[in-house]
Every structure is written in structure tokens, then in C-alpha cells.
Amino acid sequence: MAERLVDSRPELELPAETTEDLYENAPCGYMSTSAGGLILRANRTFFLWTGYQSDQVVGHRRFYDLLPPAGRIYYETHYVPLLLMQGSVREIAMELICADLRRLPVLLNAALLRDAQGQAQVIRITLFDATARRKYEQELLRERRHAEQATQDKARFIAMVSHEIRSPLSAIVAVRQMLEKTPLSQQQAHLVRMLKSSSESLLGLVNNVLDLGRLESGHGALELHEFDLRALVSASFEAMRARAELKGIALEQTITGEVPQSVIGDALKINQVLTNLLSNALKFTEHGAVRLSVHCEPAGAESVSITFSVCDTGIGIPSDRLSNIFEEYAQGEAVRTRYGGTGLGLAISNRLVKLHGGELRVASEPGRGSTFRFTLQLKRQDSSGTTSTGD
């Protein structure tokens, strides 16, 4: 049993604590209005905060008379409908005009009390001083606007700088190509090869940064036109053949299902995705094979569903990295050091697939290989001219 505590001055009496006291001096403003909003009663806290005298408002003013014009619109279009329909509202942010015309930010709760017949009688309002909260909200909004603006400015700056770098860089690549065709000593040829690899990787990086900037700013719209699906797949495939042969890796392709003659889509962007996925697959595979599979299935009378997959027998991706692999710069540091690259390729591919309404997915097992897959629904141009293949 708890020990009873004894005050050092036991003769002190607890002061009388009336409901009236609690009402008048509560740390919030209380107000009752008629159903039509006429102020019938308010507590001392309310008068203290606003500076009004009781006889200035009670029986003389409607609640909305204390609101600035914007608040009155909000009152009529949000507060009143909600109060009448659900019987109460909570945490409505408003400003009250005080006696000295100062504006007091408040949070308002209200309940509508009805009589036995269901007729609205009294609205009971509780007001909380929201000065500090309003200050933080406004700071938050201001900071958010700043942050959004800063991000946009940065993106514009990066795009501009990248663009400026690309022109002289293209010149360096062209000069290097011309240099290659001149008689070179063994050492010079070695230096030119280094120049080739560095300038090409730098050009790739700049192009990726520009691509991503375009996609992020919403300028990566699709350019839809008719194209030959087989020709596109084979072009992406052939472009990689030399690299595969150089590395001693088997490169395979299959097209199955009902392949239409031509479809409507953005061939350049689809090619960019396939090239990126194949190039990654070759980069991360030392032994075995890289396979590009394309499977077509009819989707309704006018469209075809095409699943592209690029499968390799490379190093694979650890499971903890799979979840953010399509984010920018997600490539691990160790991977970048060993294999090179910008870490932007998959982020760009993912966005390009999304532009077409598809989703890029990955399945992988470390040491066994990875499969990247996406499905696009494209309109077929020639509903009659399909060819069925089973190779």
C-alpha cells in the first residue's frame, strides 16, 4: 500500500475549483454560437487573446465577422458544409481579426449540437492559439519552395555545363580518330588507345548526364513512329557482337511468338535500353553467354505485348542491392572501380521503359548471373501481316 504523503503545511485548504473557473481560464478559447453563427458566449481566454470586450461581440457579431475575407470563403466552402454534414470539424486553420486588427492564427474545432427533433441549435467552438505552428508551417512552405527551386537550378546548371563539355569533347574524339589513321610508333599507338578509351567513356558519361537531365525535366517525350521490330532487335544485337567475340562470350538472340511486321513506338529509345542492358551484361560476364530474348503475344485486336529479356551468366547482383538498382548512381563503389561506368545507365533505361508504360525488372543470383526484363504494349501497324516464329 502506498504511503500517504504529508504536506509540511497541512492547514492549507485546496482552493475552490469550479466548472466556471475551468471554463473561463482554460488554455484555449471557448465560444458558443447559434446555428446561424451568432456569438452567444465566449470565455475569458478568448477575450484575453483577441482584446474584445464581451459586449462588443456577444449577441452582436457572427463568428464569420471575426474572419478576414479569405477566411470567410474558407468558412462557407469547407467549414460549414463539413460541420452540417458530419456534426463536427477538427483542426481547421483560421485567422481571427482581433480588436486591434491584429490577426491571430488559430486551430478551430467545432461541434454542432442538435435538439431532440434534430434541429441544429448551438455550435460549440474550441480555439487553440496556433501562432507558433503557423510560423513553422510558413517556414516549411518557404523552405520547400527554395529546395524545389534549388534542385531545378542545379539540374539546369548541370545540363548546361554537360552540353558545353560535349562540343570540345566531340572534337577530341574526332581528332583522335584522324590521328589513328596516321603512321604511329608503337608507343604513340598505345597512347592513342588510352586516349580512345578515356574520351569515349567521358563522352558516354556526358551523354548519360544529359539524357537523365532531359528525362527528369520532363523533356524525354516519346517520338512515336512505325518501325520493324526484327530489324531493331537485330541491330541492337549486331552492335554488341564484336565486343562479345573479343571477350570470348557467346551472344545469342531469339524472337518467338506472333511477331508483327512493324509496330508503333520510339525505336531509338527502345534501342538505347537494349544496348545498355546488353552492354552491362557483357561488362559483368567473364564466362558463358549473354542472351537477348524477345517474345510477342497479341494484346487485343490492335496491340502486341512484347517482352524483352537480357540474361547473362555474369557476377550477379547481391540481394541487398537489387532494391535500389534502378536509382541514379546506385552502382557500388567497388563495382565502379573495377568495371567503370557512370551508374546512370540503368536509371536511364528504367525511365525510358516507364515512358513506354512498362516496368524494368531484375532477377539475379550472385555468381550465377542476372536477367533484366521489361514488357511493352505497342500498337501493331499491320494487323494482318504477322509472322509466326518458333526459333
Binding site: A70, E76, T77, L84, A93
Partner: protein, 267 residues
């Protein structure tokens, strides 16, 4: 695009009856008609909708370009009429939707039998020789207060129950649909609504029109209701005893009683 899904269409009442379409105003959704609709449900084919961007409409269908003016919403109303093959329509529009109804009736006058405009205002901002009730500065402040409120709502996670709400389950439903509004869409709609000026459209409407005007309405003051009535060739005004801007909620019986004589035998 399924327009019925886009505007969260609800159809009630006998299928063969004359259609009566209810369109809510700024800040609300189709829930606001709940006290008025039962009176007409047995004799009209009732069509309820949420404007795109409000209530449970399909937010993915919203675009700032299409809804840059009220005409975008008026086009939606006409599309819904076509999708449901509505003819001889009684259009009931509250607040900003009164002007949406005016624009729809101008575009396809043959489709509409009657207009009931509750608290209409063709222009909210004062102009030379015209009192709308607000200044441009007032409207800018409204947009700010919207920012603050939607921010407040989204952070008010724990329900703070006060008094004795008649039906608590109704609260959640309403709050979900009222507060679902994307703050950017709400701001945009507020801008489009309160900066609109449809005064020039009013004299062109030939459809018989009933104006329901509350006696004390800060959004659409009585002088505005009188202006609308004067400007429309086939309009009549009923000045209501009800105060405020939402008589369909605060005084549903008076609203229904004011509509019946105008609607005639069907009412």
C-alpha cells in the same frame, strides 16, 4: 477514358424518368446533396458527380491545362450527358457549378430543360460598376489559407472527437473525400473559380432558370443574385430565409420547397 468513373458518377431513381443532375461547388463533393436528393429520388433519374479533382473523382484525369477555365468542367458535364444519353436535363448547380451549368447550357441548349442555380456568382471580384464581394487581395489570401489548411489536415492524424457527432461513421467517409483533394488541385480550382468572369455569358442563356439566393451569403451576396437574375432572360429569383452559402445543407426543406413550383408537375 471512362467518364462515369472519372467523375465518380452515381445514378439513382427510375431509369425512364426525367434526369436531374446535381453538381457541387468549390470545397465540396457530391455528399453535399444528401439532404436534398431523397425528395426527388422517386420522380427523377438522379445523376450525382464529383468534379474532376474533387471527392472521389479520378485524380489522374486532372490536368491544369484542361481545367484552366470552368469550360473544362462544363465539357465534362456534357460528356456525362452523352455517355448516359441524358436529354431534357434539370441541372442543379451549387456555387461555382452554377456557372459550369450556364456554360454547358450555352454549348448544348437543347439538352437542358431547366437550370437551378444555388448561390450563383458570375464574378467574385469587384469591378467598375459591379460588386462581387471580394478584392484580388482577398483571393490571394484564400489561396494562402488553403495551403495552410491542407498542410494542417494531412498532419492531423489522431481524430479529436468533440461533442457528439450524430453518426461517427459518416465523419470518416466525409473527411476522407473532402481531404483527399490534392492541395495543388484545390489551389488551382480556387484560382479558376474565384478569378472567373462569366458575366457576358448570362444574357445568352435561354433555358428557364431558378436562382436560389440566401438572405445572408458572404460568397454570393444578395446583390449578386439579383444581378444574375436581371442578366438572364429566363431567370426568376427566390430569396430564401436561410443564411450562409449552403442552403441545401443548412435549410434543405426550404431549398426543396423553393425548387418544387419551378420544376412543375414532376417535382
Amino acid at each position: 477514358m471512362d467518364v462515369l468513373k472519372r467523375n465518380n458518377i452515381k445514378v439513382l431513381g427510375p431509369a425512364a424518368a426525367q434526369p436531374m443532375m446535381f453538381v457541387h461547388g468549390f470545397g465540396c463533393d457530391q455528399n453535399m446533396w444528401r439532404f436534398v436528393v431523397p425528395a426527388f429520388e422517386s420522380s427523377y433519374r438522379i445523376v450525382l458527380l464529383d468534379l474532376v479533382g474533387a471527392g472521389n473523382s479520378d485524380l489522374s484525369a486532372w490536368s491544369s491545362a484542361k481545367y484552366q477555365t470552368l469550360q473544362g468542367h462544363a465539357d465534362d458535364v456534357l460528356e456525362i450527358c452523352r455517355a448516359l444519353t441524358l436529354e431534357d436535363v434539370v441541372f442543379v448547380g451549387h456555387s461555382v457549378s452554377a456557372m459550369i451549368g450556364v456554360l454547358a447550357a450555352l454549348a448544348e441548349p437543347e439538352r437542358f430543360a431547366k437550370l437551378v442555380l444555388i448561390g450563383p456568382s458570375p464574378r467574385y471580384i469587384d469591378d467598375a460598376g459591379y460588386v462581387g464581394g471580394f478584392s484580388l487581395e482577398d483571393i490571394e489570401q484564400l489561396l494562402e489559407s488553403l495551403d495552410s489548411n491542407y498542410l494542417g489536415w494531412s498532419s492531423a492524424m489522431a481524430p479529436l472527437i468533440m461533442g457528439n457527432p450524430q453518426r461517427p461513421e459518416l465523419s470518416a467517409e466525409l473527411e476522407n473525400s473532402f481531404c483527399r483533394t490534392d492541395p495543388n488541385i484545390a489551389r488551382h480550382f480556387a484560382r479558376v473559380t474565384f478569378l472567373s468572369d462569366n458575366r457576358a455569358d448570362l444574357p445568352l442563356v435561354r433555358t428557364p432558370t431558378l436562382i436560389l439566393q440566401c438572405s445572408e451569403d458572404v460568397i454570393a451576396p444578395p446583390a449578386v443574385g439579383e444581378y444574375v437574375t436581371r442578366s438572364m432572360p429566363a431567370a426568376r429569383l427566390v430569396m430564401m430565409r436561410a443564411t450562409g452559402h449552403c442552403p441545401n445543407l443548412s435549410a434543405p426543406e426550404e431549398t426543396i420547397a423553393a425548387m418544387r413550383p419551378f420544376l412543375g408537375t414532376n417535382g
